[in-house]
Symmetry: C2
């Protein structure tokens, strides 16, 4: 829709990166409105754009009417952009079954893989934020909690991804880059960075992550956020 | 699609309840295949249905071809059922803007409101699972973590819901029951039950929750799960 102006309210060090990457992969023109974290949190100025005050927010303005739409929630933003701005199926799929699979992954990213990773991250934070001898007790508590659910669930989720990537010739859907890869890359990258999974155990998942980051659209987005002072 | 057989792989004490409620509200015929938790976790037999081994799983079998589809991830199941089985817009909306809002909430449930609630729940578990004097130290660590992010974020999310419910005449979208209400009800109910929010501070959210639970479809679903030994 060339009748639209697209603006992305982007926060440094956030999952908003994926939305920029999506738009760059779709070769869309858009403007970035940057926000900087204050004490690690999103600044209050974001609340003026949307009451939830989180980033990314994609603003779509109709050039003729001036009517504005504010899209929030990454999975929903991806779904909306595929439906309205990906007429050539660059990141979608013409096969209905494959298109459904992509839609599933847009929910999977936050619904399935993030929760156990978030739990493991909190346990890591709890251990780091306490000093000896308290850390000893904290460690024993979080270890028990991790063992009861999240550690096994992380394994379960990554076993699934690893096998799907092998089955789908190096990608999540149909042997080629889709919106699913871009959205799911964020939690997976965090899991490798924070040491919750390793490339020894998940070599194909690691290779997938490295491969999708060699795309032109990824490089373009990386340059853009660098210009706003983001280090990656 | 009367050409389909629908089966729900349902786990007791899980968010699978919402999917049954959705199907009952759509007046669809479906079969429930029940699973019982073992030591609080989903049983391994669920992995035979889908490698992720989580519930709900909605199985859709084409009567003429015998071809089966396995749908997982609650938000995605809701999206799929609206698209394929809600031709009369019982839980959807004929206004495109309102239909978009419903789609947004299908992502919001897991993407926005669940994460801070999950964090608060872990902090509650950590406090409960440690005994005095360790509990004293654990409490001080989790209090610091909660203060840094999740407590404020829970407030933020519930302030948003409370104001949306007032604006939308007692519901999330357009003054009437939609798929959004059914999906979002689960994390909200948990938040009240676990004491993360109170009806004094969020009276309209509490009233909304009580109201949607007076529907016939809720009562029908409740009876069905009772027959499988679920206590509610």
């Amino acid at each position: 829709m060339s009748n639209s102006i697209i603006r992305v309210h982007w926060l440094n060090q956030s999952r908003a990166f994926r939305v920029l990457w999506l738009l760059d992969a779709l070769k869309l023109d858009f403007e970035i409105i940057p926000y900087k974290r204050v004490d690690g949190r999103a600044p209050d100025s974001l609340k003026k754009i949307h009451p939830l005050g989180r980033s990314p927010i994609v603003e779509i303005e109709d050039k003729s009417t001036g009517k504005k739409k504010m899209l929030i929630e990454s999975g929903y933003i991806f779904q909306y952009m595929l439906q309205n701005f990906d007429h050539d199926n660059v990141l979608n799929n013409t096969d209905p079954d494959m298109a459904e699979k992509i839609q599933f992954y847009l929910h999977f990213a936050e619904g399935s893989i993030q929760p156990p990773l978030l739990m493991e991250y909190i346990y890591q934070l709890a251990e780091k934020s306490s000093s000896f001898p308290i850390s000893y007790f904290v460690q024993s508590v979080v270890n028990k909690l991790s063992e009861a659910y999240s550690r096994g669930e992380v394994k379960n989720q990554f076993d699934f991804l690893e096998s799907e990537i092998v089955k789908n010739k190096g990608y999540l859907v149909d042997g080629k880059l889709s919106a699913a890869d871009i959205l799911v890359s964020f939690p997976v990258e965090m899991a490798f960075l924070r040491g919750f999974v390793t490339s020894e155990i998940y070599p194909n998942t690691k290779k997938w992550l490295d491969t999708i980051k060699t795309t032109d659209s990824y490089a373009i987005t990386k340059e853009k956020v660098k210009a706003f002072g983001e280090e990656m």
